[in-house]
Point group: C2
Chain length 166, copies 2
DNA sequence: GTAGGTCAGTTGACCGTTCAACTGACGGCG
DNA sequence: CGCCGTCAGTTGAACGGTCAACTGACCTAC
């Protein structure tokens, strides 16, 4: 293991400002969504993906992939959304292992009701605060990070000690 | 309520890229920290704040404020950290209501062990992916967002329907 | 001094996420 | 055909976080 490349004072400040801003931003948007639509952001994203899919239907695993979340999370979330009547499960006709999640009309209505406020929040707390050049800078920065991070699949797991084990 | 200012195609793409990148970035860093140090990012941040405080000691509420998290979260977290032997609680001498959290030597050692890997992760997944101008752009963008968001305290609560109530 | 409001912190129930273990269907190979 | 590894998805326990209710100490005003 090589010597640690510590952050200098400037980088340190940048990192903390960035961390703080992202924490507040996503915290605020989450809170607004929870307050106004009664759902966490993860559920909103599932509804969005489904609403854009052909026949408002998706395989569980593509739903997981496109929301970059685990199969388990999708499974639990869809279970809750099904109870709420926003999503319906169907068995896949071509692969009996597979399951399809279908957005119901109620689910679409719930999404339609939630979207305006949420979008307004995104605009207010993000786009309105930045100059047009900053928006494109943010876009480029995000794309760079996304390119790097999305190529990090199935990294070696290693040992994972838990806090409780100490 | 005015008409919704929807996102245009460019903004939509920017927002999704940004959302995806941030999700992957913080997800990756969280996972690394959990794997290598056995603690979630929130706990790490508490240890950092304490390590920088005079006498490695802080009031619970300033700890909460400086990590922009709720008193409740700090209370739960410090309870866990105390069980792990990384933090010790003391009653405040000047205000008997108050509690002081003190970083123990074990806690400092745990932080010292966790820091290099975590910093390396921040560098690898963030700074290394950006050009120097992009780093200052990100800094400015974060500062702008932080300025806006940190002035949003105690916003009116409003109605908060739960998913289960439907 | 004592009553009432505020403040610091804790507690417990609930929720969403994660991890690991499991079920059951697919698919290639003998 | 029948086995075996893989794949899709589910399940349940554990964990971190949130919210609301609570405890107890401070503090001002009467």
């Amino acid at each position: 293991m090589a010597e640690t490349r510590w952050l200098d004072a400037d980088e340190q400040r940048t990192w903390r400002t960035f961390l703080g801003a992202m924490g507040l931003l996503f915290g605020q948007l989450d809170r607004e969504l929870q307050r106004d639509a009664g759902m966490p952001h993860g559920y909103y994203e599932i509804l969005v993906r489904l609403s854009e899919a052909p026949h408002r239907t998706m395989r569980m695993s593509s739903l997981a992939e496109s929301s970059q979340s685990s199969r388990s999370r999708i499974s639990h979330a869809v279970a809750k959304l099904e109870i709420a009547g926003w999503v319906r499960r169907e068995t896949c006709p071509t692969d009996r292992r597979g399951a399809l999640a279908v957005l119901t009309d109620d689910g679409f209505a719930a999404l339609a009701a939630a979207a305006p406020t949420h979008v307004e929040g995104v605009r207010t707390h993000l786009f309105d605060q930045l100059t047009p050049p900053q928006v494109s800078q943010l876009s480029a920065i995000s794309a760079a990070l996304l390119g790097h991070l999305s190529s990090l699949e199935g990294a070696p797991a290693g040992h994972r000690p838990d806090l409780a084990e100490r």
